[in-house]
Symmetry: C2
Subunit: 402 residues, 2 copies
């Protein structure tokens, strides 16, 4: 009976896998394979424009603009012509690899209206850089960041009426790449979809800062050396929900991710974590975990570090990307050296922390008198927003051409 | 201006998140919330049945049967009535959380035709147990494994004509749960879809075993204590492709996952890893990594361990679920004590290994004279298939009622 199996399925499978690998290599290698081509963009406008929601009714990531930007990719043909279409459902085969093997990565960006009604993006080059790094880590295609940014700008201009005009409001932009190949065989996807949707959002702190309490998570680990915690993969998010729910159940707004027996402080919820203290040498220091492969390379993180080097170092501050532990934080608190702590991310910009519960003990973190933030977090918030909303001219803020 | 924001979006977001958490708790807690109800099943038959492919043209996970089984879940209403419909695309909002945050987990099962033309499943209770564990780890809903198995049986009976009759062939069954909530806010999904598709597949070794060469991966780590490597989440798969491609590029069929500076042997590609050696005490030992949270709880792994305890221990073998290192394997090979190595999983059952390259050195692994397998892997393969195809009666093999 075995002899009759002349063209057996397993051999075909193996052959198919090799072809997939081969396609993936050549697609990655071939510099000549079609990159994203903004000039090939087609636009289909919606025939039923949405009514704008009142700003007070905006819920983060719940309501979307009229259109979406989509670019298909195949291993054979590279990036196909970009399309702006009415916002619509994705129709995918139930065997599509995104549904089974988490072939997905994404970015979070914002478009802002400045006082002159111009539209601005904040450091889109950083998002493009990171999206390419995320995509290549899971065998999805890469692209020219400049060309994709050009398309995002066209898309945002089309959706301009959805950008609220008040400071603090913005249009949240979500570029996503998913693997779309219809097969359960595990390998590099032979097809993918890069798409962008956008959601008008309000300020994180509409009535002023609201400092949060954290619980240090001991039962779960977000990322590890040699893992993918430094890439913005979907895979890093679903596993974080239950630990966050556990912290929420006990009354904490977020959980704090630690690493190793030493209790290294890594991230807070889905934000990077900053601490300010007077260090053991008596020097004022702003510290955040280093990019050792376990930390998301936050655009806000990077921006805060650059601002700190520009504005705090001349005032005698030390700015450090170095490992630090919960024990060090507790010692600093006990000795009155702990100054401030805050999370940093695109959604909140900064998120002041007022307490961390760790191994049953609460470490209190100082706030400015009568405020729900410390002075440093407030300064960074002001500096960042001034740039994002174009109140000061800065190369990080990119004005969209008319 | 701030004062005007009476019902601000961020407060709404925070409110919405709390509601999501609350819904998720109550959905998990409420034993009374509707479980899967097989009696509510509705069936819509296809009007265009597919032609059966010739067995030789089957490619793993590429062609599917006529129908699919779907069960929607909402936090509010629990599991909705199950539906069997024609196989069709899923239509999802581009903001659906599966596309962004990898809310997906799955199972791999097989249905077999025995010599009396009866349909058999292999240990479906183990798959149901694991799927529930995977789902709850990423805040997706759980369900009664018995009730879902009842529905899978009905579905498989409907698709019976797709199960090839030859031994070694089977119908690969893929249950999948995805989060379907349409929001970019990160939290427990308020809705989900559990669905099952099925693909007729051929034997992994149609012309007899084909031993594989592995490359031990040093640059990436699959799983970590406190991580999710023991759950069958999509999140564990996409990040594995590039390391596998790297190994393939250098001519190895699979990569071998190690852990820690000690070089603990964990998994091979997407299979569990077994090694047989004469240990340092001079005892014949079959060893595999323990379920310490970094190892997928393979149904084939568990079955091989049980068969080994039943059949090998009386012959003087020791059967161990214990950590072991590459250095120990190399020492055993150098001293002539290394007997065999093989991967174990649903697709291949067993996959004999003939060599492992580790830090530039190749460790040769013995095979039976003139064969592409060792004697142990061959025995397990024979034992497993005899049970799966009902050649021996065994409680692991579940005959579907007519």
């Amino acid at each position: 009976m075995l002899a009759r199996r002349l063209r057996p399925s397993a051999a075909r499978w193996s052959q198919q896998c090799s072809q997939q690998w081969a396609r993936a290599y050549s697609a990655q290698a071939a510099k000549g394979s079609p990159d994203i081509d903004p000039s090939a963009l087609t636009v289909e406008k919606t025939s039923s424009p949405k009514a704008l929601l009142d700003s007070k009714d905006l819920i983060f990531g719940r309501n979307f603009t009229d259109h979406m930007l989509s670019i298909e990719w195949t291993a054979q043909d590279g990036w196909l012509p970009p399309r702006i279409t009415p916002y619509q459902n994705l129709s995918l085969d139930p065997s599509a690899c995104v549904f089974h093997y988490a072939f997905t990565c994404f970015e979070g960006m914002k478009a802002y209206k400045d006082s002159k009604d111009r539209v601005r993006l904040f450091r889109p080059d950083r998002n493009m850089h990171r999206l390419n790094r995320s995509s290549s880590r899971i065998a999805l295609p890469t692209f020219s960041g400049e060309k994709f940014t050009e398309l995002i700008q066209k898309f945002v201009k089309m959706e301009e009426r959805f950008i609220p005009k008040q400071k603090g409001y913005s249009l949240y932009i979500r570029p996503t790449i998913i693997g779309t190949q219809n097969t359960l065989g595990i390998g590099p996807p032979g097809s993918a979809l890069l798409y962008v949707i956008a959601s008008p959002v309000g300020p994180y702190y509409p009535t002023g800062f609201k400092a949060i309490s954290l619980e240090a998570t001991e039962s779960a680990v977000r990322a590890w050396p040699g893992g993918v915690g430094d890439r913005k993969l979907g895979a890093n998010y679903a596993p974080c929900i239950v630990p966050q729910m556990d912290a929420a159940k006990r009354g904490y707004q977020q959980n704090l991710w630690l690493f190793g027996e030493e209790g290294y402080v890594t991230e807070v919820g889905t934000m990077n974590m900053f601490v300010a203290w007077v260090n053991e040498d008596g020097v004022k220091e702003l510290i955040t975990a280093p990019l050792d492969g376990t930390i998301l390379e936050g655009v806000t993180r990077e921006s805060i570090l650059e601002l700190a080097r520009e504005k705090l170092v001349p005032e005698g501050w030390k700015v450090s990307e170095q490992k630090f532990t919960m024990a060090q934080m507790k010692k600093a608190a006990d000795e009155g050296r702990l100054l401030e702590a805050f999370g940093a991310g695109t959604a909140a910009v900064v998120s002041p922390v007022k307490a961390i519960t760790w191994r049953g003990e609460e470490i209190k973190i100082p706030l400015s008198p009568g405020k729900e933030t410390g002075p440093l977090a407030e300064s960074f918030w002001n500096w960042m927003l001034a740039i994002q909303y174009g109140e000061v001219e800065h190369p990080w803020s990119k004005v969209l051409s008319e």
